[in-house]
């Protein structure tokens, strides 16, 4: 296999807002507005940003749970955007998902065993006793007891349900799992368990994660590289250490400064952004962050900054950062 496992180029997802008598398109929500990134085999890319910045939509567009408006998505070199449902089907074996809400992401009227066995049966990997054996093994892998297979989702705790969701995603041995805020609905002690489970599974099976989250501490713990999104655009991508130690984009800087610091003695500069996130219906001209950026200059209002490589593997979309300055 050449090239990255997942290659996303200029992916866009716009939602039309229809109004009036004949459902004319009166406005467009630019949920995801041209993002480019890749995920390598066996790595975890953290995709962070505020609520409503389009990170979950990006995940869904890659999974083809929503149809992307434009752009290309390549999984192991093959284009999967624009495929019909049936043409997409074989690729779903390599591309799985773990959802944010462990309550609504499991069918309430199927038993835990049936839920995890479903992908196995769909792809004809195992049926009958073999499937049961495989599901029992998966239960063990995610830290559940095989006796719990006959239980129903409402009999599990939130953390256990998320383990079920992970077992279901893992059942077909995918290459990539899109994890859409998999721990943000769990309480902190359970978050740590689930995060450790994910890293263990990555070490054992070599699966890659596209880890969508808003919690920086979680992302710092699990990711190899981090992409920061703001209003449908990626503003900065770098490996974890670089982005947490030397953030280059003003938004990343502000985002990091807002994360709680475990050491109370450590005083750090707190950047407080003015105003709210602008609406994705009418995103600001030029750089989308210019309305709140403490360093904005005249050029930021008119010209949209292209994402450029400051250092190898470190890309930033900002007029104020020049490759030499990185």
């Amino acid at each position: 296999m050449t090239g990255p496992l997942l290659q996303v180029v200029d992916l866009k997802k716009h939602y039309p807002i229809r109004g009036g008598l004949f459902g004319r398109e009166v406005a467009t929500v630019h949920a995801v507005d041209g993002i480019t990134f890749h995920v390598d085999s066996g790595e975890t890319l953290g995709l962070v940003g505020e609520s409503g910045c389009g990170k979950s939509t990006a995940g869904k567009a890659i999974l083809k749970l929503v149809d992307p408006t434009s752009g290309t998505v390549r999984l192991m070199g093959k284009r999967i955007d624009g495929l019909s449902r049936s043409a997409m089907w074989p690729h779903r074996r390599d591309l799985q998902v773990v959802f944010q809400d462990p309550y609504s992401s499991l069918s309430p009227r199927l038993s835990a065993g049936e839920i995890v066995a479903e992908p196995l049966k769909n792809f004809g990997i195992a049926t009958g006793a073999e499937a049961r054996e495989r599901v029992a093994w998966l239960f063990g892998k995610v830290g559940l007891r095989p006796e719990q297979m006959a239980k129903y989702p409402h009999e599990f705790s939130g953390g256990q349900r998320q383990r079920l969701g992970i077992a279901r995603a893992l059942a077909v041995r995918p290459k990539l799992i899109v994890a859409d805020e998999p721990v943000s609905a769990l309480d902190v002690s359970v978050q740590a368990q689930v995060i450790n489970l994910l890293t263990d599974l990555q070490a054992e099976f070599g699966v890659s994660f596209l880890f969508v989250a808003h919690d920086l501490a979680v992302v710092e713990h699990i990711s190899h590289r981090v992409a920061v999104m703001y209003l449908g655009k990626i503003v900065e991508i770098a490996d974890r250490r670089t982005i947490f130690a030397r953030p280059q984009h003003p938004y990343t800087e502000a985002l990091l400064s807002a994360a709680p610091q475990p050491n109370p003695r450590l005083k750090k500069k707190r950047i407080i952004l003015a105003g709210d996130v602008p609406s994705p219906i009418n995103p600001p001209s030029g750089c989308r962050f210019h309305t709140r950026c403490p360093y904005a200059v005249a050029r930021c209002k008119t010209e949209e900054p292209q994402i450029r490589e400051l250092a190898p593997g470190h890309q930033v979309a900002c007029h104020l950062r020049l490759p030499s300055a990185g």
Binding site: L65, R92, F99, N122, F123, V172
Partner: protein
Amino acid sequence: MALTLVAPATQAQLQGRRRAWWRRNLSIVLGGGLIAVMVGIALLAPWLGTVDPAALSPIRRLRPPSDQYWFGTDALGRDVYSRVIYGARASLFVGFAVAAAAVLSGLFFGLVSGFSRWIDAILMRIMDGLMSIPSVLLAIALMALTKASLENVILAIAIAEVPRVTRLVRGVVLGLREQPFVEAAIAAGTSTPRILIRHILPNTIAPVVVQATYICASAIITEAILSFIGAGLPPSIPTWGNIIAEGRAIFQVRPQLILIPAAFLSLTVLAINLLGDGLRDALDPRLARQM
């Protein structure tokens, strides 16, 4: 430190719990019990001291209630008690059959239109059209096209009820298909028909069961209306509707000819509606008191 988290329930607690259950499900118990009685009457009609409900006896016409004729006789000398008891058969059969037919076809149309946008567009316009005609009028019009028979009456009433179930199921499906567990099933490679049957259908059962009871009740009334105006079952089959219709002319002399079948009709409809209300409360997850 020994700590008993779950104390064994005492006799009094058990009793209290049982009483709470009865109170909570009173309308299910009452409605279900009354329906069971009506079904029992309909099934056991020949063994409940009845005579042939169609046997004419002009010499004994318009008798008041007595030991021999519990509800008296009608203008043709037929035993009203036997006619009312046998009438339960027609009413209940029509009610249940219409509910079953409307629910099955409504489920099918609702599931299909909830998942296919262009079928939905066509189907919903047809359903809107059907719904714009009052169900009794639609049934009368349909009956005018065919001959009076049990199947035709069931069909005519059911057609008017299908849009209601379809709309209900479609609404539930549209809500469910946005649920993460449906997206998870798509991501897990589950085919659309399997998603509909395994993930969506089981979640539509509760609202549809409740709706079915209301359809059953309204079908019984519609059947009575059709029979009353002579557009329903053939007059040879006794139904509460045509007993009332035949009693109408002499209602001032023998009011029981109308009142008794009407009482049976009202009780049955009341029972079914009680059951429906009770089921709705018991099945509604937002009102669920025991998770």
